[in-house]
C-alpha cells in the first residue's frame, strides 16, 4: 500500500541480445519422461489440509500430469541450463522448419507459460547486470 515510501523497484528490462543468451532451466522437482508423442511431466501438487466429507475417502493426487507434444517435449528436454534461448530457436527452425518469426513467437509463448507455472526459471548470462525474473 505504501510502496511509494520504499520506492519499489520494477524488474529491469532485459534487452533482446541478453534474452537470447538466457538459459532456461527445468524445475528439478518436476519428474518427466519422454514418450512416442513427446513428453509427460509429473508436476507435484501442494499438500492440502485434512480432507472433509467424502473427500476423506479419496486420497488426494500427489502430482498432476502435463502431456507435451513432440515440439514441446523437445524444448522441455533442452531446458537443461546448457542450451540458450537462441539454441532453442535454432532447433525449432532446423528440426521443424519454422520461420524465425514463427519460432520466436511460439517459443516466447511456451516459455512464458512454463515460467508462470513455475516449471522453468532462466539463468541470465554472467555480467548481464539484469535482475533475475521469471520471464524471458
Amino acid at each position: 500500500m505504501f510502496g511509494w515510501i520504499r520506492g519499489s523497484k520494477k524488474a529491469e528490462a532485459v534487452d533482446r541480445a541478453t534474452s537470447l543468451a538466457t538459459r532456461p532451466v527445468r524445475n528439478r522437482l518436476v519428474k518427466w519422461e519422454t514418450t512416442e508423442e513427446g513428453a509427460v511431466l509429473h508436476v507435484p501438487l501442494k499438500k492440502m489440509g485434512r480432507a472433509k466429507g467424502f473427500a476423506a475417502f479419496r486420497p488426494a493426487p500427489e502430482s498432476k500430469d502435463i502431456v507435451l507434444d513432440e515440439i514441446g517435449g523437445g524444448l522441455w528436454a533442452r531446458c537443461d541450463g546448457e542450451h540458450t534461448t537462441a539454441d532453442l530457436l535454432g532447433w525449432m527452425r532446423d528440426r521443424w522448419q519454422f520461420s524465425y518469426r514463427e519460432a520466436e513467437q511460439g517459443l516466447t509463448h511456451y516459455l512464458r507459460t512454463l515460467a508462470k507455472r513455475g516449471l522453468v526459471a532462466f539463468a541470465l548470462p554472467e555480467g548481464s547486470g539484469a535482475r533475475r525474473h521469471g520471464e524471458a
Binding site: 530457436l89 521443424w96 522448419q97 520461420s99 511460439g106
Partner: protein, 316 residues
C-alpha cells in the same frame, strides 16, 4: 548477418531482403499502410506508403523527411545526436522505369539508409528505412534491397506475388487482401476478388506433428468451413509434384443458390459455390487448404487454378 536473401512480397511490393528478416508488424491496405521486418535483434526494415498524385511528390517528401530528421535532432538538444549528418547518396544507380527515388544515409544511435520512392504508374509513394546497429552499416545490403524494390504489377492482368514466412503464391492483381492472421505454425490470408469471389488460403505446420495421429484425409475434412458437409468418398485425389492433393467442388442448387447471390458475410459463404483443395507439402513440412468461393462453380473453379498454383506455393 547472412548473405542469403529471399523475395518479400506484400501488397504488390516486391523486394529482396536478407533471410532472417521477417515481417513483424502490418498496418493498412494497398493505398496506405506500413510493414516492418525484424530479425532476432530488432527492427531492420520499415516500409510506409501512401498515395500521392503530384509529380514532385518524391522530392517534396524527401526534403520534408530530411528536415524532420534535423528538427528531431535539435529537439533532443544533444550536440552530437548525429554521428553522421543526413546526406543524400547515389546508392541506386538506376531506378526501374516509371519509378523515381532519392536515398539518404545518416548515423545516430543507429545507422540508417532511408529512401523515398514514387511510382508514376500506381501513384504510390513509399518511404523505406533500412536500419542497422550503430557502426554496423552495411551499404551493400541496403543497396541490394533498394535496387530490388518493385512497386505494382507489370500490368492489370499480371498476378501479384505474396511471399512471406516461407510461403509464396500468386494472386490476380485485382484481388485484394481482406484479412490476415499469422501465428506460430499457422497462417491465414483471405482475399476478395471481383464480384462475389472470395478465397481463403490457410497453412498449418509442422505437418509431421499434425498428421501423427490422423490421415491427411481426416485432417482435411476437419478443416472445412462450418456447414460444409463432404464425405471422404466425395473427395477427388490428384498428385502434384509428388504431393497428394485432395479436392472437391460444391454447387449450391435451388433456393440456396438464389440466397447465395443475395446474402453477405458468413451466410453467403455457406450458399456460394465452393472449390476447395488441401494438400501436404512434404518439402516444407506444411499443410495447406485453399477455399475459393464464387457465385457460380465455373467462376470459382477458374479463379482458383489461376490464383493459387501449388508449385508456386511450394517454393521458398
Amino acid at each position: 548477418m547472412t548473405d542469403a536473401t529471399y523475395e518479400f512480397g506484400w501488397r504488390k511490393f516486391r523486394l529482396d531482403v536478407p533471410e532472417p528478416w521477417e515481417p513483424a508488424h502490418f498496418e493498412g491496405d494497398d493505398a496506405k499502410g506500413y510493414v516492418r521486418l525484424d530479425d532476432v535483434y530488432g527492427p531492420r526494415l520499415e516500409l510506409r506508403w501512401g498515395l500521392a498524385y503530384r509529380e514532385d511528390a518524391c522530392d517534396t517528401a524527401f526534403e520534408q523527411y530530411l528536415k524532420g530528421l534535423r528538427r528531431d535532432a535539435r529537439k533532443k538538444k544533444g550536440a552530437g545526436v548525429f554521428r553522421r549528418e543526413p546526406k543524400e547518396v547515389a546508392l541506386v544507380s538506376a531506378w526501374p522505369e516509371g519509378m523515381k527515388g532519392r536515398v539518404a544515409r545518416w548515423s545516430a544511435e543507429i545507422d540508417c539508409v532511408s529512401a523515398v520512392v514514387a511510382c508514376s504508374v500506381c501513384n504510390r509513394l513509399t518511404a523505406l528505412r533500412v536500419l542497422f546497429a550503430a557502426r554496423e552499416m552495411r551499404t551493400s545490403v541496403a543497396r541490394r534491397i533498394l535496387e530490388s524494390f518493385r512497386d505494382h504489377t507489370a500490368s492489370v492482368d499480371a498476378p501479384s506475388v505474396w511471399s512471406l514466412y516461407r510461403m509464396r503464391f500468386e494472386v490476380p492483381s485485382r484481388w485484394r487482401l481482406a484479412e490476415h492472421r499469422f501465428g506460430p505454425g499457422y497462417a491465414e490470408m483471405r482475399f476478395r476478388g471481383p464480384g462475389r469471389l472470395l478465397a481463403d488460403v490457410r497453412r498449418w505446420g509442422p505437418a509431421e506433428v499434425l498428421l501423427r495421429r490422423q490421415s491427411l484425409e481426416a485432417w482435411y475434412l476437419g478443416q472445412l468451413a462450418p456447414g460444409v458437409r463432404v464425405e471422404a468418398g466425395d473427395l477427388d485425389r490428384t498428385e502434384v509434384r509428388g504431393d497428394e492433393v485432395l479436392s472437391f467442388e460444391r454447387r449450391p442448387g435451388g433456393v440456396a443458390a438464389v440466397l447465395g447471390r443475395l446474402s453477405r458475410g458468413k451466410q453467403a459463404r455457406r450458399r456460394l459455390a465452393l472449390v476447395s483443395a488441401g494438400w501436404h507439402c512434404a518439402s516444407t513440412n506444411r499443410l495447406w487448404v485453399v477455399d475459393v468461393y464464387g457465385a457460380s462453380l465455373d467462376e470459382a473453379r477458374e479463379a482458383e487454378w489461376r490464383a493459387f498454383c501449388h508449385a508456386d506455393a511450394e517454393e521458398g
